[in-house]
């Protein structure tokens, strides 16, 4: 049966390729080709700043070097703890705000829009202005903390115990609205008859929350955390401008370390191996997470 023949012009198949072609080609050229190139370089001792020197094949040497380097595991640990605390805080506060906003009081659309503003801003610029808020001499943050609880003088960015919390606070400030918005969508998707049935069965409000609200909002919360997890694993801009990885390497996340190896020390081969390892990690964890998420959704 050929219905298409009735119409004039190009066939649907031709139009399809014409429409998808440019997108796929561009992605291949600017995304996949560089990735393949990076994988190729990860097996060589290439230095991008030494033009003219022929890179040599070194096998798995770069990978072994990365995995045996203790400093790399420190960066991974910094990244992991940054991810753990930001995701935990954003899940709790975001879900809490969503539950409150779901009470549908007057003006809640306007308030939602206002609360969402921080996450739309440029992370690098956010990083810059928080250095002002955190300034130990004149910062508003320090003033407010001292107003409620006198800590005396403290330096959120200059102290290696406080700096990891400085970046967690800014990330949470910026991205809690993200989890909030997605949880809110989850809450609004729960059909009313579930609660009506629960009321008829004399289930308490608490039981309704545990057996109806939480299970329905959970897939949404998990989706939000997946997005945030991927983003924070790659985190670069906000932290570079806020602490530039310091003091020492207290907030040097994997991406920041990668940038130093690649663009300051110009160890292209080595940093490519590191990049590939990071990419495989994020892809692996992402896949497992999605499988778990789908299992939970099915239940």
């Amino acid at each position: 049966m050929s219905v298409k023949k009735k119409f004039k012009g190009l066939s649907d198949k031709a139009v399809g390729w014409l429409f998808i072609g440019p997108t796929v080609l561009l992605l291949l050229a600017i995304n996949i080709y560089p990735l393949v190139y990076a994988i190729k370089m990860s097996f060589t001792n290439f230095y991008a700043n030494k033009i003219g020197r022929e890179p040599q094949f070194v096998g798995l040497k770069n990978y072994i070097k990365v995995l045996n380097k203790e400093a790399i595991w420190e960066k991974m640990q910094v990244t992991a703890s940054f991810m753990f605390w930001t995701l935990l805080l954003q899940a709790i506060i975001g879900l809490g705000l969503a539950l409150l906003l779901n009470r549908k009081f007057k003006g809640n659309e306007l308030l939602t829009t206002l609360i969402v503003l921080p996450m739309m801003l440029s992370p690098a610029v956010v990083g810059v202005f928080w250095t002002y808020l955190y300034n130990p001499q004149v910062g508003l943050f320090n003033y407010v903390v001292n107003f409620f609880y006198d800590l005396g003088s403290f330096d959120m960015i200059g102290s290696s115990t406080l700096a990891p919390w400085a970046i967690v606070i800014v990330d949470t400030w910026m991205w809690t609205p993200f989890t909030m918005l997605i949880c809110l969508a989850g809450l609004r998707s729960v059909p009313n008859y579930l609660y009506e049935a629960a009321e008829v069965d004399r289930a308490s409000k608490w039981q309704q929350f545990i057996y109806i609200t939480l299970p329905s909002v959970l897939p949404f919360l998990l989706l939000a955390l997946l997005f945030r997890g991927i983003e924070n694993f790659k985190m670069f801009d906000m932290v570079v401008e806020l602490t530039s990885g310091g003091p020492g390497s207290a907030t040097e996340l994997a991406s920041i370390n990668l940038k130093r190896e690649a663009f300051e020390k110009w160890k292209t081969g080595y940093s490519s191996a590191f990049a590939v390892i990071l990419f495989v990690t994020i892809f692996g964890f992402g896949n497992v997470y999605v499988k778990v998420m789908n299992k939970i959704k099915e239940r």
């Binding site: 009735k6 992605l27 009470r103 440029s122 992370p123 808020l133 990419f279 892809f283």
Partner: protein
């Protein structure tokens, strides 16, 4: 008991409590942004006074410093000059300085505009074509292709930055507007395809089929029937792409220096005497964040869709 109210509706007391907590949160969360805007209207001294000044005499020093380069001069030299021609020269002179020329800010800001608009247009155009094909035709390996398009978003930008850096150096695209437009177009394409596919799925097929029965070709039907129908979705997608290009930092800082540098890597480098010039940084930040805040308000109905790549539609 109040029986007129559905028992599903929260009580008015719990509504009020919820509203109160949300209002407090909104106020607290907006303090950092408002503080930066306030700082932009302070003078250099009141920006570094402690305790922080909530009430202050407004000044445009930050904005003047943002747009000019200045150099310090001796009092004798200043006295020898003709009187200042305008208010901003007077303000700079009162600090014992003279204006030596315009700063780079305007150039960086217009770079952000050019690259932002250029890449937004390209990614929405290409994204709309691909989205339409994915939405209407039987494309071989459709799901794999769509996932491939999405997965390009998972690369840490630094991982592909070195090869792109080398590639751009060879092609002469390094530190050019065109190079950055192409790069941001590609980064935005995944979002554009996924979002627009969702919007196109919502337009009934019957519209363009009717047009084709009336003698339109598939291409004509797409441009004359489908695109106008998808306008809201296209506008929302465009704003999301624009915000991304506007805010992007990692590629900008690694791949541009003089010619095509955008505002985000530039704002942190605004340095006054003895450290950072906070009112000027506040001014730069305010001017930079303003468009995004306006966009966010325009977008509010589509926010959820945009931030989840169309996975959650409401």
């Amino acid at each position: 008991m109040d029986t007129s109210r559905s028992y599903l509706e929260p009580s008015s007391f719990s509504k009020k409590m919820a509203a109160a907590i949300i209002i407090v949160y909104a106020v607290v969360t907006l303090i950092p942004i408002s503080w930066m805007v306030m700082t932009s209207f302070k003078n250099v001294d009141s920006a570094i006074s402690y305790p922080p000044e909530v009430l202050f005499e407004p000044s445009l020093e930050g904005y003047v410093n943002l747009f000019t380069n200045r150099s310090r001069q001796s009092q004798e030299y200043l006295d020898s000059l003709p009187p200042p021609e305008n208010w901003y020269e007077e303000l700079v002179r009162s600090r014992e300085m003279v204006i030596t020329g315009p700063s780079k800010f305007l150039g960086r800001y217009s770079n952000s505009m050019i690259i932002g608009f250029g890449s937004t247009f390209a990614s929405v155009f290409l994204g709309a074509l691909a989205a339409y094909a994915f939405s209407r035709f039987r494309v071989p390996l459709k799901d794999d292709l769509l996932f491939f398009i999405l997965s390009t978003r998972m690369f840490p930008p630094i991982a592909v930055a070195v090869p792109i850096f080398i590639m751009y150096r060879k092609l002469g695209l390094g530190d050019t507007h065109l190079g950055m437009i192409i790069l941001y177009t590609v980064v935005n394409l995944s979002l554009a395809v996924w979002l627009l596919k969702g919007f196109m799925d919502e337009i009934p097929k019957e519209y363009e089929e009717a047009a084709m029965i009336d003698g339109y070709s598939r291409l004509q039907a797409f441009f004359k029937v489908v695109l106008p129908q998808a306008m809201t979705g296209i506008a929302a997608t465009a704003i999301f792409c624009m915000i991304f290009s506007w805010n992007e930092y990692a590629f900008a800082v690694l791949l541009t220096q003089f010619n095509a540098q955008t505002a985000p890597p530039f704002i942190p480098t605004i340095i006054g005497e003895g450290g950072l010039d906070w009112p000027a940084i506040g001014a730069g930040t305010t001017l930079f964040l303003l468009p995004v805040m306006i966009f966010t308000i325009i977008l509010r109905k589509h926010l959820l869709r945009g931030i989840t790549f169309g996975a959650v539609r409401k």
